[in-house]
């Protein structure tokens, strides 16, 4: 209990006075405080008085204590704050702030004024959100007694994505701190000293060279117009803001889409987002408008007439699709799902395949291929990882294997960094880039072929040296002896030689794992390049079990909704909720639910479908994303239907092309890598005549006169999903009921399956559309980061 402005209030241990005041509705002006950042105490505006305390302590750095008597507002404090703000404003273009005609002026200055140098609020891109202006208004600043100093620093516009005008900077340090404390990158810092202090990079390099990842956290934190997103700085206040989930990777960041003139013009992270907590990455923060507003978006359905694709009406196209698809035998049609589809679309697509065309030939071009899912099922009981993002942040050790985390899932590095700040040791097994050393304590550069020996070497060291969680292993794990004896053949020296690393490094990794408590392992698509990815997953899970952390396995899936698409049963052998098609009981349940006879044999997997298409055994193919290996031959296909948002090479052979809505234009749900089902909400109407994928499927089903596809909204589809899929009951992380007893898998070297297939796809893509093709700045960044393509492997 403490007293604040005469009011007795309770407080949480460890809270600062500023937090207590804010929680109790008392406003104290501040400019350097920012949620999630440590107290800094630089702006000196939140000065308060505390009984029996010398001077004017700042509210933002003073911890609340019992019996404190605090005054947050009196004439003396007000005048002190005014004086400080006057000093700040003496170096920030303030003519508009103190102008007595400012209201009238803003009425006439309604259109954006694109000026180079900002000389007043009227010309500032941030005028509608400026915190400095708000504080000045609160304190009633009417004049500045000191001469105005315009620092005349050059505008910095050479780097991609955002502009910097340090003439507007008030050196609150939020950008520096968010980059260091939250993102763990530290690309920028205070440079020089005294009055010349300025935010900058090491040695005055460009941001691109200084390791900036362009996540935009600094831009979002900036209280003034010093940092502004180049693509969206002149749009002013958006007409509306829509909270949705980013569908560009599988982290599941909540974003606020800013809509102006019926288009999504910008996006910024939602501070309430459960997965991202106010953070985003270069894709979510800066790339969405250019991606979804491209001039060559598909706007009409296209059908092939006389060898050419020509615009058609929806009825025409859907009718054609219905008639054609209906012609083939069940074994002759196949469906390839995109891991970027919504749950609703994926659910309806597999329902369409199974109900209308009576085939299980449906699979996804995703990291979540059948062997990976089966291997995960062995570990967790479901086709999913066991970990959550929250868990990552709480881990004592983290291993990232088989992905370039900073490039592929940048927002996860926030949680990794959080764990690291609390003492976690973070290791990277995989590709090597300079910037990684800022994020990882140990970087082990090993090719995917070395994963198996390395992991078995680590496992052997752990088992032999002991120190692992014995209670957990004896109480909850079977087959420890089998594992132990399977490790006998492994020789650490050979392992070190094969991987080209030192034996002590293997020991170091093993020691970290057994001595740092609970851990997390994040594994990415590069494991698919190993001879036996399933074996790698088992090895990783073995390591986690020995460390007593079964809930630490996190798949770094590449598609935004790889998890959801698999959960929805867009797989050749699983119905929704990972119920095997050969399981009679499950099948009956779905036959009843869908009132249809369903195919009983597992369908063809992704490579089998592509092989079938090349050989001619598959006659009709239905593709919902552009992620088809370029080298696939589709010439022998009789009939090809494609969904797309942009023209793709697939269209050369497609007979019908349906224009799909982008994720910013549709409602629905997607499921993140931590199994979190989150809503998508349309920020704008679909471009042209395009439609959400689920609607397209309904439309074709309608033309085929099949019942069970009469939905008028995505939420109706979701309701049905909740009914038939036991995993899904609504939004949020779906419950993974971990087994009581786990099995340690013996280590066994297996050869690569003959049917596997490696192919390349763009590193950053959405439904096969290379983001760097649509967002030119992203191309610059990709070149700088030296990331080319991501290799994927599909196995049968």
């Amino acid at each position: 209990m403490l007293t604040i402005d005469g009011k007795e209030v309770d407080f949480k241990e460890g809270a600062t006075v500023l937090e207590v005041a804010t929680d109790n509705g008392i406003y104290i002006p501040t400019l350097c405080t920012h949620s999630g950042l440590l107290p800094f105490g630089a702006c000196r505006l939140c000065l308060i008085k505390i009984e029996n305390m010398r001077g004017f302590p700042p509210a933002c750095t003073t911890p609340a204590a019992e019996e404190m008597k605090i005054i947050t507002n009196d004439p003396e404090l007000n005048s002190l704050r005014k004086n400080v703000l006057e000093l700040i404003l003496s170096e920030h273009p303030h003519s508009c702030i103190i102008c007595d005609k400012k209201e009238l002026c803003s009425y006439y200055h309604i259109s954006p004024t694109k000026s180079g140098h900002v000389t007043g609020c009227a010309f500032c891109p941030n005028k509608d959100r400026c915190e400095l202006k708000q504080v000045a208004e609160y304190l009633g600043i009417k004049e500045i007694r000191f001469p105005f100093t315009y620092k005349n620093l050059p505008l910095e516009r050479e780097d991609p994505f955002f502009d910097r005008d340090y003439n507007l900077c008030i050196l609150c340090g939020r950008c520096v701190r968010v980059c260091q404390e939250i993102r763990g990158i530290g690309a920028i810092s205070f440079t020089k000293r005294g009055h010349d202090t300025k935010i900058g990079t090491a040695f005055g390099k460009s941001h691109l060279d200084g390791g900036c990842q362009f996540c935009g956290a600094c831009v979002d934190a900036c209280p003034t117009g010093a940092l502004s997103a180049r693509g969206s700085k002149w749009h002013g206040v958006p007409d509306k803001e829509t909270t949705t989930t980013c569908a560009l990777c599988s982290v599941g960041c909540s974003l606020k889409l800013e809509t102006k003139w019926d288009r999504v013009m910008a996006a910024h992270p939602d501070t309430e987002g459960p997965a991202n907590q106010g953070q985003a990455c270069v894709r979510g923060r800066f790339s969405i408008p250019a991606l979804v507003n491209g001039a060559n978006r598909l706007k009409y359905p296209l059908i092939r007439r006389n060898g050419r694709l020509v615009p058609a009406t929806w009825d025409e196209a859907a009718e054609l699709a219905a008639v054609k698809l209906g012609k083939y035998l069940p074994g002759e049609t196949a469906f390839l799902t995109s891991p970027f589809l919504t749950n609703e679309a994926a659910y309806l697509l597999q329902k369409f395949a199974r109900v209308c065309l009576v085939t299980n030939n449906i699979d996804t071009a995703s990291f979540f291929s059948v062997p990976v899912i089966e291997s995960q099922m062995k570990c967790s009981g479901m086709g999913a990882g066991t970990g959550t993002i929250e868990n990552i942040a709480k881990s004592g050790w983290i291993i990232v294997i088989g992905d370039d985390l900073l490039a592929s899932h940048p927002v996860l590095t926030v949680n990794v960094n959080q764990a690291r700040k609390q003492g976690a040791t973070v290791s990277l097994i995989g590709s090597e880039r300079d910037i990684n050393s800022r994020m990882f304590d140990t970087c082990v550069s090993v090719e995917p072929s070395g994963y198996f020996p390395l992991l078995s070497g680590i496992l052997k060291t752990i088992v032999e040296k002991g120190g692992f969680d014995k209670n957990f292993v004896t109480g909850k794990c079977d087959d420890f002896d089998k594992l132990k004896s399977s490790l006998k053949k492994i020789d650490i020296k050979t392992v070190a030689g094969t991987c080209g690393i030192s034996q002590s490094l293997i020991k170091k990794l093993a020691t970290t794992i057994v001595s740092s408590g609970r851990g997390s392992i994040l594994y990415g698509p590069k494991i698919l390049e190993c001879d036996d990815p399933a074996q790698i997953i088992s090895l990783l899970f073995n390591i986690l079990l020995l460390a007593g952390s079964p809930a630490g396995l996190v798949p770094l899936s590449d598609g935004a909704n790889s998890q959801g698409v698999a959960d929805m049963g867009a797989l050749p052998n699983f119905l929704p909720g990972y119920q095997h098609v050969t399981d009679k009981d499950s099948l009956t349940v779905f036959e009843n639910a869908w009132s249809a006879k369903l195919p009983e044999k597992p369908g063809l997997s992704y490579p089998e479908i592509l092989n079938g298409a090349a050989e001619g055994s598959i006659k009709a193919l239905y593709v919902t994303g552009g992620e088809i290996p370029q080298e696939t031959s589709l010439e022998r296909l009789d009939f090809l239907v494609a969904h797309g948002i942009y023209p793709s090479p697939l269209f050369e052979t497609a007979d019908i092309v349906f224009p799909a809505a982008a994720f910013t234009e549709e409602d629905g749900t997607i499921t993140s890598l931590e199994r979190r089902v989150q809503p998508l909400q349309a920020g704008a109407k679909p471009v042209g005549m395009s439609m959400p994928d689920w609607k397209i499927i309904c439309k074709i089903a309608e033309k085929m006169n099949v019942k069970g596809f009469e939905f008028s909204s995505a939420s109706e589809v979701f309701d049905e999903i909740c009914k038939v899929n036991p995993l899904i009951s609504g939004h949020g992380i779906w419950d993974l009921k971990l087994k009581d007893k786990f099995t340690l898998t013996p280590v066994k070297k297996t050869a690569r399956s003959k049917k596997s297939m490696l192919y390349e796809k763009p590193f950053w893509h959405y439904r096969g559309v290379d983001l760097t093709e649509k967002v030119s700045d992203l191309k610059i960044l990709r070149k700088k980061m030296n990331i080319e393509h991501r290799t994927s492997n599909i196995e049968c």
Partner: protein
Amino acid sequence: MDFAEIRKKAIAGWKDLVSSKTPVIYLGAATCGRAAGIEAVAEEIRKISKELSLNIRLVEVGCIGPCYLEPLIYIQKNGYPSVCYGKITPRKIKKLLEDYLINNDPRPDLALGTLGDGQINGIPGLFEHPMLKYQTRLVLRNCGIIDPEQIDHYIARYGYLGIKKALGMSPSEVIDEVKTSGIRGRGGAGFPTWKKWEICHNVQSDDKYLICNADEGDPGAFMNRSLLEGDPHAVLEGLLIGAYAIGANHGYIYIRAEYPLAIKRLEHAISQMKSYNLLGNNILGSDFSFDIKIKKGAGAFVCGEETALIASVMGKRGMPMPRPPFPAISGVWGKPTIINNVETLGTLATIIRRGGEWFAGFGSKFSKGTKTFSLVGKVKRTGLIEIPLGTPLKTIIFDIGGGTSGDKKFKAVQTGGPSGGCIPAELISLPVDYESLMSAYSIMGSGGMIVLDEDTCVVDIASYFLSFIQAESCGKCSPCRIGTKVMLDILEKIKSGKGEMADIDKLISLAKTIKKASLCGLGQTAPNSVLSTLRYFRSEYEAHIIDKSCPALVCKDLIKYTISKEKCAGCGICREKCPAGAITGKKKKAHIINESLCVKCGICYQVCPAKYGAVEKKTGFLT
């Protein structure tokens, strides 16, 4: 070898040195001596000793204090006390060596005094010298006397007896002893050392840090450098005692990279300590283990501030952090950390060895012990001094310092560096201790003492200190970063004769805001130089503003140089030396300064022969 044996060996070695049969020459080879040219002198001595085949032993010692007499050497011969000579140049040295070492004439006319036991006729003891007579040397007791690179010299002169004694006491007893001594932090703020220690002592932690703050940055201050260069072991022993008292197991010496000699001496001293088991595990056979690392700072003034120093030690930008948490609870790497000044640590060994009560016998009521000052500015005898606290300013400036150079009128003395203030001539009898200086609106600071005479303009001096503070601000908090710049701009405006009376109010209002609202000590004290000069010399500010004149004839925009027609003899020196070509005139005819070309460098004023004194400085012509 146990410590008793080490000590025995060291004492024997020291005796050998001071009663050496072969002549020994001690060289004052601290940075000050080197700057004055001692290395050239040493080279010359080596050469001469070869030429004259004299077997001379050269010993480098630290600085004994009188900087104005550098370079200093001490010649010791045949068991006689060594004789100190000042202002030695390579040219002078040969004659001196011949006279004393060969012809047995110690040259009393050149000698400053004798050092050591015994007497030499005609030469007084060095400590009878007016610069040293009034001093009490506790911290500096070894400076200029022992070879700082010889741990044995230090040990022979009661070194490491303090830590030996402390290890026989409990840490609380050590803290009590320090409490009895009454010593307060010598870095500036004057916080009782024992109080700081006690907080840290009571915190439970596996790791604790004790840092020696050697980031001496005040303009004109060199107390810490001298001590580290002249007697590094005294500071290191203090670190051991402090670490033992608070239970620290790691030590840092945060020292600016601009002190290469001090760093070298410290590194050397630390390696010697290790070889004597005075550092490392189980020091002197006790349970106490401690290690010391040297962390070089890049020379930022603000890094003397505790939290900024901690940030710098951790490799971060030296920016102060908010308190709480206080360093004593959470400092370096989040562990309890105590930061003590070089001089505080340098005093500890003596305090423990001789007892707190003995130490408290020096000084005044609330300010115990002695304090070192670097006495600089417009004073005859500049140098490093150590006086008991409570000594009046008058003794320091006139008795020790010998009054102002050129016997001009004494105007004020600036104490406490950029954060301190000016004490005017009226307060010359003020005793120098924490309270008295505070009552005169200045501070003790770390010990800089800059004497100002009538030729010093207070507006100029205030703007000098403010420009220093302004440039050294870390840039974190807005009042300090921007406020000091705005104040400086106003001072510049006043100096250029464009000031208005309202500017004085603005200065005071800004100063108040900066003092109240700044984050760290640097900002909170930043306006002091302006406030104290305004308090004591407001009329001088007003002269700049109202009369547009600079009474001290310093501010360039308010003065002009003229040549008196009557006095000028037309010697032409000024015309030759004028860098701007502003002076014209024919030989043996009065010269004239062309004002539009004059850059007011004052060279003509300096070069005009005193017998003419024709160049005159004028002010007040603008109104």
